[in-house]
Structure formats: structure tokens, C-alpha cells
Amino acid sequence: MLYREAGDFKTSYIADSQTFPIRFDRWRYYAVLAVAFGIVPFVINDYWANAVLLPFLIYAIAAIGLNILTGYCGQVSLGTGGFMAVGAYACYKLMTAFPDVSIIIHLVLAGGITAAVGVLFGLPSLRIKGFYLAVATLAAQFFLVWLFNRVPWFYNYSASGQITAPERTVLGVAVTGPEAPAWAAYLLCLVFVTVLALVARNLTRGKQGRQWMAIRDMDIAAEIIGVNPLAAKLSAFAVSSFFIGIAGALFFAVYLGAVEVGEAYGIQKSFLVLFMIIIGGLGSIFGSFAGAAFLVLLPVFLKNVLVGGLGWPSDLAAHLEFMIVGGLIIFFLVAEPHGLAQLWRLAKEKLRLWPFPY
């Protein structure tokens, strides 16, 4: 009988529109934060940081970003990889041009630059809708990758065309470069995730979010009741790209350390992040986390079970992994088309009614 809504009355509109209206949820949220900030940094090792936690946190940012655009504003985008690359290259150029400025500022600026680029590529969304738009955003994906590959200025004329993150510190602790300890990199990402998730939450629960959702659900009606579609769509592109740009910058600077644009930010990235938000749940911040966790953890988990646990040949395991991931995606969709977040919501609804079936 832990999960109770009854008796948990709100006495003000502020209390009513808070993020976790149910007390139990609120406590759980604080507990997660406490563990993430207070315990994990002390027990983290390289493997957990690099194989699981860093990618999870960074993809969660990207997923939240894309979810704002696709889940909240209804504009399907396949340009995520390209926008992440913008963030990464912006961050790289800033890091090397202004080595004395804090990396945190660089990361935020990288987000800002990506937002500007995002707005530019968001312009066609005023005319183009649905899957047409999705395919159109691929233009951004391919063009940006080509551009970063093609213009040596972006990679500081290095012979290989790769970019490598120099070491930068926050409060005297290295967070980028090979010497950065796992916990420092993790904490940096965690802080970004926490702040950005809060920002996303704030934006989506108020006026801005309603504008986006109105456009998503029925753009014509939204316009007729007073939503400026230009402003709504472009702001979604901007905010979304801001998030994605930061994710791309973190992905490069903190996680991988060195990237080649075609490999790290190729079209596969765009699809991956899109999968995350669909599996997690469109229009849900929690879903972004769930989706990122699912797609980061599942392959690692499967690999460890199949190869490590069962001792299968790694190629068979890899092929099987594809089948299982594909099968699970389908299974989840059939079970609940609206993603893990909805599954969770339904579970809660059932819990609320428990022990009655309905």
C-alpha cells in the first residue's frame, strides 16, 4: 500500500503542477539523485563509466533534446547525428581557441551554436511535415558530416582529419583527456543531465510545452487559437538542438576523447537516438532516460550474457543480439505502443487500483 494518491491533496496550483505530484514518486526521485551524486562516484570504475554510465547519461541528454522536438513538438528529425557533430566541433574549436576559458562555458556555448544551426535547418519544417520532414532532416545529417569532413578549418588542419580533446579541468580536476578520472567525467555529465532535465521539465510543463504539444497534436488548430507556428517550431528546434549539441560535445570531449565525424556522428546516431525516444516514450522526459538506458544497457547486457555467460562464439552472439534487440523492440511495441514510459504509467494506474482489477 505504498502507492497512494488518495489523501495526497494539493492545496495550491503550484503544488499541483509540480514535477512529481505524488509524494512517493517525489521521494523516489530524491533517492535516485542521492545515489547518483552521493554513492556512484565513489564506486565507479572505468568499465562502468565508459561502457555504461557515460554513454547512458550523454544519450539521455540527446534523447531529451530529440524528445522535445519529436515527442513534444511532433517534428520527427533524423538529423540528430549531424547536430551532435555541430556540438562536438563547436566545442573542439572553442576548446582549442580559448584554452583558458572553462570547459563548462565551452559546452554551453557549443549548445548555443548548435541551436543556431538547428534553427536554420528547422526552417523547412514550416512547410514540410511528418515523414517528409524526417527525411528532409537527413539533408542536415549528410551535409553537416560532409562539411566537417571536408573543411580542414574545423579539425584544425590535422593530418588525419580527426579531432582530439585536449585536457581540461573543472575545479582543478581533469574532466577531459586521457588522465581524467572516471568519477570526474561521470559527475560532469551527471550535473549536465540533471540541470538539463530540469530545464526540459520546466519548459514542457508550462506555456512553451503547451505550445509545442498543440503544434504536435494539431498544427492548424493550434495556429487558429493563437500559436505562432514559426515561433513554436523554431523554438523547439533551437531548444532541442541546444540539448543535442551539448550531448554531442560531451560525447566527444568527455566520453570518446577523439572522434572522426563520419563514424561517431553518422546516420546511425540519428537513428539510435530516435529509437531511444520511441522505445522510451514520446513526450516523456522519463521515457528519454528509459529509452537511453534500454538501448545502452541491453546490448552490453546481452553481450555479457551470451558471450561471457554462455560462452557463445562472439559472431553468433552478435547476430543473435540483433535479433533479440529487434524482437524486444517489437515485443514492447505490441505490448505497449507508447513506450516504456506509458508502460510505467499503466503499471502505476494498476497499482493505484490494486487490489481491484479496475
Partner: protein, 272 residues
């Protein structure tokens, strides 16, 4: 039919003002189809103006012209004594013209409350940074507008479904939510496109009460399309009748009811 530009007082004591909106010689074509042919009429402040006519006559198209969604090939729209320059629908909405739709156009992915709150969008001014921060101005603004929204929600008696996703609501309630969304923006003119379609008598009575109360309490001007003649004749001060894009009648309900052309084209034999 009174023809002065000054106001007058109706039989039941409501004050009707001068002309707020005037359509002048509107013609609207879609490819080969002429949906509206050279129609002119006006709407006075505080009145309930009905538009009726057979299916496909061009009534909804006329509302769409008023709200700026369709741009007529010919003709002018005058609002508050000025010719309205070309405008986007959202700009029209910001002038205080709100509406409901014939085929319910609620935002299916949102709760009732959120849907109603979208009606307040035109009144909310906080920038995106303030909202990202939430605490402070954005929250204050949210609460102020929430209070307004709750008032309308109370008024329309939909408190109990406040948090329900609209996709789960039955038809009639959806219509009511749509009305709430339109009302909450405190419009000067309210356009209603078949607000009572798909309702039974009891619900229609409710709806009529809301419409009348809005008109009464807030002095809102209402333009209304409806097929239920009982409703139209009882509620409206003046009626425009359209048929095949043309205007075939304009006047008080009694005048219209007596118009032979209207009877032939639309009413058929009166069965009251």
C-alpha cells in the same frame, strides 16, 4: 431588423452595440469550386449571430475566413471599423477572436487542463529563459493563468475531468472542453462551429445555457453555426442563411423563418 449603427436593446434587455466585424463581398474559391460567392454581412457587438444553411453551403469556410485560415480571393474583412490587413490565423486570434471547430480539434495528447490552458497562450508573455528557470515570473504567470482557467473549468462544469487525457473523453465533453479553451482566452468575438452537433436535448440545453451565460456575463459577441433550428431560432439575434456559397437570407429569426427561399433550400417543411 434594426439598421442603425448605434446599439439597441433587445426584448429581453441585452444591450447590442455597433458593428464590430463586417464581411464585405467575400468570394472564396478552391480550384474550380466556389465555396463562398460575394457575401457581405456584419456582426454587432454583444449579439448572437447565427449562420445557417445546408451542408456544403460554405458556413465553415466563412468562419475560416474570419479566423484568417482561408484567404478569400475577393472581398474585405473589417474589424472594429478598420480594414483588416492580411493576417496569419494566430494574429487574428491575438486580436481576441476565438473559436471552436466543427470536427473537434482538441489536442488529443494533452489533458483537459492543458488544453484549456492553451487558450491562455495569447495572454502569457514570459520568455523562454524565464520558463526554463520556472521559479519566479514564469511560475507566477502560470498560477495567474491557471486561476483563470479553473474559473472557466468550473463555469463549464468539467472539474472532475481536469486531469483526464482528452482522447478518452466522450464526444459531448470534448465539445465542452473545446468551448472552455475558446472562452478562457477572454475573446471579444467567439466563433462556434456546430457546438451542439452530436448532443442530446439535455446536453444541448446545457450548452445553450453556457452560450447565453457567456454572452450575458462577459458581453462576448458570438457567431454560431448550427443545424438545430430550435437552438438557432431561440438563441440568435440575427441569422445569415447561406446556400451553395450565396447568401439567401439575413435577418431576425422570425424574418428568416418566413423567407420562402430559406424554407426551400434549407428548412424544408417546418416540423416544430
Amino acid at each position: 431588423m434594426k439598421d442603425t449603427s448605434e446599439g439597441y436593446v433587445t426584448a429581453d434587455g441585452r444591450k447590442i452595440g455597433g458593428v464590430v466585424m463586417e464581411m464585405k463581398n467575400i468570394t472564396l474559391r478552391f480550384g474550380g469550386v466556389t465555396a463562398i460567392k460575394d457575401i457581405s454581412f456584419d456582426i454587432r457587438e454583444g449579439e448572437i449571430r447565427a449562420i445557417i444553411g445546408p451542408n456544403g453551403a460554405g458556413k465553415s469556410s466563412m468562419l475560416n475566413v474570419i479566423s484568417g485560415f482561408y484567404v478569400p480571393q475577393e472581398g474585405e474583412v473589417w474589424f472594429r471599423g478598420e480594414k483588416r490587413p492580411p493576417m496569419k490565423p494566430y494574429q487574428v486570434a491575438r486580436q481576441g477572436i476565438a473559436r471552436t471547430f466543427q470536427n473537434i480539434a482538441l489536442f488529443e495528447g494533452m489533458s483537459v487542463l492543458d488544453n484549456v490552458m492553451t487558450g491562455r497562450l495569447t495572454h502569457m508573455t514570459q520568455g523562454i529563459l524565464a520558463q526554463a528557470l520556472w521559479k519566479g515570473p514564469a511560475e507566477r504567470e502560470e498560477v495567474e493563468n491557471r486561476e483563470k482557467a479553473e474559473k472557466i473549468i468550473d463555469f463549464l462544469e468539467i472539474q472532475h475531468i481536469r486531469k483526464t487525457p482528452v482522447s478518452r473523453l466522450p464526444y459531448g465533453l470534448k465539445k465542452r472542453v473545446e468551448l472552455a479553451r475558446a472562452l478562457v482566452s477572454e475573446p471579444t468575438i467567439l466563433l462556434l462551429d456546430e457546438p451542439m452537433a452530436g448532443m442530446n436535448v439535455e446536453e444541448k440545453e446545457d450548452m445553450c445555457r453556457f452560450v447565453l451565460d457567456v454572452n450575458d456575463e462577459f458581453g462576448t459577441t458570438i457567431a454560431l453555426i448550427e443545424h438545430d433550428m430550435g437552438v438557432v431560432m431561440d438563441l440568435s439575434d440575427r441569422v445569415v442563411v447561406m446556400d451553395y456559397g450565396r447568401k439567401i437570407g439575413d435577418g431576425t429569426p422570425d424574418e428568416v423563418r418566413a423567407n420562402q427561399e430559406v424554407i426551400d433550400a434549407y428548412l424544408g417543411v417546418a416540423h416544430d
